[in-house]
């Protein structure tokens, strides 16, 4: 019998996913990872795995007649995700911890735990699809957008490679959220949503600025606010408190509305400018990962998402040496943000992605490719 480990949160998505796997005849085991959560006066729970969530997942598992266990990953999560989150802000980057969690926790640590339990697959309640190769000649495993594009989570799964996709199941990838809710009602499963992947689950209250002030005050160094020409127009309270494209809350009273153009850690400057100065049409991504296992030959035309919730934008991507890629958009984008992921799509196929860097765009991509 094929054994599947399902990552359960107690919420509607993973509960329905678990139920579907049971219905499909798999030998299903439910797991929940206990992740690090910010300590507060009376508790220290990650919002992904509160005692309530755990109890809920246990009840669902019992209802489905599958075993369920909670495993500790607090130290690993703290080191790999929380520390990374703080370090990124210290470096003037705006990180996406969900993506890193999928990379290091779910699809590395949890997948290994599942393999240890003799599982053939690891399943999650993510909205995405895996396409298996259709023949020996065919391409490898493909990661595809969910049928429900509003719920699609392939962005945070873009870090998966062939080894992971071979063992990945996303039972909800073919369903819409309303269908999932209907199934939950039909199966008498919980219908409440748990925090989704855009949430910073380890924060006590979701306020990352407060978290940095309290837990990483050294990250927040006041510095100059300046125009592109170097004119100093004010003082900021720490680059980590700002994001590219932001207008409100900069603390400037100018007649012309000013936007955050750039966080520049090299001189701890917050660069601002008018709406006309906002936006770029190119970026260089680092730590680039290709779902297929290797970069494409030559430039490819793709659509690129520069944030989890951003609309895909047409662009040309050139793979560069050392796990980098140059992305040239057809038009200007206002909020290209270093630290976020640029994820590449060909239609519904997620080809991979990388972390947006501050590296200058190569003068010619051909030259960069040669170097």
């Amino acid at each position: 019998m094929t054994r599947v480990v399902i990552a359960m949160s107690g919420g509607v998505d993973s509960s329905v996913a678990a139920a579907l796997l049971v219905r499909q005849g798999y030998d299903v085991i439910g797991l929940m990872l206990r992740l690090w959560g910010e300590p507060t006066a009376d508790q220290r729970f990650n919002r992904c795995c509160t005692p309530d969530a755990l109890a809920q997942a246990r009840r669902v598992a019992a209802q489905l007649g599958i075993p369920f266990y909670a495993l500790d990953a607090q130290d690993l999560f703290k080191a790999r995700i929380v520390d990374f989150f703080v370090d990124s802000y210290a470096a003037g980057l705006t990180p996406n911890p969900c993506l890193e969690c999928n990379r290091h926790i779910r699809w590395t640590y949890l997948l290994d735990q599942a393999r240890d339990l003799g599982a053939d697959y690891l399943a999650t309640g993510h909205y995405a699809r895996v396409e298996t190769p259709d023949g020996p000649s065919g391409r490898g495993y493909r990661l595809r957008k969910a049928v429900d594009t509003h719920k699609d989570q392939s962005y945070v799964l873009s870090v998966l490679g062939q080894a992971q996709l071979r063992q990945a199941l996303f039972p909800l990838g073919h369903l819409t959220k309303p269908e999932v809710r209907a199934l939950a009602r039909e199966l008498e499963l919980p219908v409440a949503d748990r925090p989704e992947s855009q949430d910073l689950c380890f924060l006590a209250d979701g306020d990352y600025r407060r978290f940095l002030r309290e837990h990483a005050p050294t990250v927040l160094k006041p510095g100059p606010i300046m125009r592109r020409d170097g004119t100093i127009v004010g003082e900021h309270q720490g680059l980590a408190l700002y994001t590219v494209g932001q207008r409100k809350g900069i603390g400037l009273s100018t007649r012309e509305p000013l936007y955050v153009l750039e966080l520049r850690p090299v001189d701890n400057a917050l660069v601002v400018g008018g709406a006309d100065e906002l936006g770029r049409d190119r970026l260089v991504a680092q730590r680039v990962h290709w779902v297929a296992g290797e970069p494409p030959m030559g430039p490819i035309r793709v659509e690129v998402k520069i944030r989890y919730k951003a609309a895909p934008q047409p662009a040309i991507v050139n793979a560069l040496p050392a796990g980098r890629a140059a992305v040239l958009f057809d038009g200007r984008l206002r909020d290209i943000t270093a630290g976020q992921a640029a994820v590449f799509y060909a239609g519904d196929d997620c080809l991979g992605g990388g972390i947006i860097s501050r590296e200058p765009y190569p003068t010619t991509t051909a030259a960069a490719s040669d170097s």
Binding site: C49, Y69, L71, D72, T108, L117, A163, Q164
Partner: protein
């Protein structure tokens, strides 16, 4: 459920004889013992017969036996009731306890300290988690309201010298309460010999039903009730008595006392096989609790560098139900206070494993566990060395 159950310290199945004794009281004999009519009279008779049965197991007068909803309630009632009565009667304001008590005792002590203004002294235990009479004697004060020491420890199996400790307390006029929930069914419960002022027990660790317990209370000591209402249980614990469960409790403990030598010999032998097997085949393993003075069914270990919680999961999927000692289903590895009190470092304490055998455990069960455990522990240790194995080779 099939498989091997080695968690009898968590709970036991109800003995079919106990179930048979209980069944009529759910249906045909459903009366309320407080009623005037004959339904009530028959229920009252069942209640008082059960009380007399339990009294004979405890070697006390029936009037000194109170029925409660379980061991935890008995602990709460005794500790809070004795402490508050002693404060009222003689201005006593101090409680003596130990770091190896069950949560029902520890949390009650902490509440009495934090919300009722009692002073609390927790005496030290030795490396086996054993409490000495001398340590208790040194902690007793003229204003000590109550002292409390667990009889047989749930987590590490250590038996405490309750008779010696009670003698010390009694000589100083201090009531000693003991939590005998884990000991009930395995150890002698003759309260005259133990010399305690109160003793808490439950049914479900002794092949009786859950949700029922009893408290022995020496009527020489005052007790302020914490649940008030009717005049049930001499006005010390209000609430219509749960006759079927009370009948089940009495029958379970009667059987346990009558068959104790036979069951204990069986369990002790299997326990000792487990202890010898684990310590002999698993490197960096040690016994927790006392090597001699331990509950007959109780084997507990610390395995260095092993995630105890993960071990339980793997054992369960291999068909072996075990425990880490302190029930933790949340996956949050906090080293147990009991093991820390015994002087274990967290590196050892996080790898706790409790294997408790029962009447139905067989040599074949023990063989299976001993055959599977070493390889499983080795694999988990290997895993702990490299939590992100795949990262090195993967993307």
């Amino acid at each position: 459920m099939s498989g091997i159950y080695l968690d009898y310290a968590a709970t036991t199945p109800v003995d079919p004889r106990v179930l048979a004794a209980m069944l009529p009281y759910f249906t045909t004999e459903f009366g309320n013992p407080s009623s005037v009519h004959r339904h009530g009279q028959r229920a009252d008779h069942a209640l008082e017969t059960a009380r007399a049965t339990l009294a004979s197991v405890l070697g006390c007068a029936p009037r000194d036996v109170l029925f409660t909803s379980g061991g935890s309630e008995s602990d709460n009632l005794a500790l809070r009731g004795l402490a508050l009565a002693a404060r009222e009667g003689r201005g006593a304001n101090h409680i003596v306890s130990t770091p190896v008590e069950h949560e029902a005792i520890r949390a009650t002590c902490h509440q009495l300290r934090d919300h009722f203004g009692f002073e609390l002294t927790e005496v030290a235990v030795d490396a086996h988690g054993q409490v000495s009479a001398a340590a208790i004697a040194a902690a007793l004060r003229p204003d000590t309201a109550v002292a409390t020491v667990i009889y047989g420890n749930n987590e590490i199996g250590t038996i405490n010298p309750i008779a010696e400790i009670a003698a010390v307390a009694r000589a100083r006029g201090v009531p000693l309460h003991t939590d005998a929930v884990q000991a009930a069914g395995q150890l002698p419960l003759a309260v005259g010999e133990l010399g305690v002022a109160s003793l808490a027990l439950g049914a479900h660790k002794a092949y009786g039903p859950k949700g029922i317990g009893a408290l022995y209370l020496d009527s020489g000591f005052g007790l302020l009730p914490t649940q008030t209402g009717g005049s049930h249980e001499r006005g010390l614990r209000a609430g219509t008595p749960n006759i079927p469960l009370i009948v089940g409790l009495a029958e379970a403990l009667r059987i346990a006392a009558a068959e104790r030598d036979e069951h204990n010999a069986h369990q002790r032998r299997l326990r000792d096989r487990l202890i010898a097997g684990v310590l002999g085949t698993i490197p960096d393993s040690r016994l927790t609790g006392h090597p001699m003075d331990r509950l007959p069914n109780h084997a507990s270990f610390a395995l260095r560098g092993v995630d105890g919680n993960a071990l339980l999961m793997h054992l369960d999927l291999a068909g072996i139900a075990a425990s880490s000692g302190s029930a933790c289903k949340t996956g949050d590895p906090r080293p147990s206070d009991v093991l820390l009190a015994c002087g274990l470092s967290p590196e050892w304490a996080l790898g706790s494993l409790r294997l408790t055998v029962g009447r139905a455990t067989t040599d074949a069960d023990v063989d299976t566990v001993l055959a599977r455990l070493p390889a499983l522990v080795a694999r988990l240790r290997e895993r702990a060395q490299q939590p992100e194995r795949q990262l090195a080779s993967g993307s």
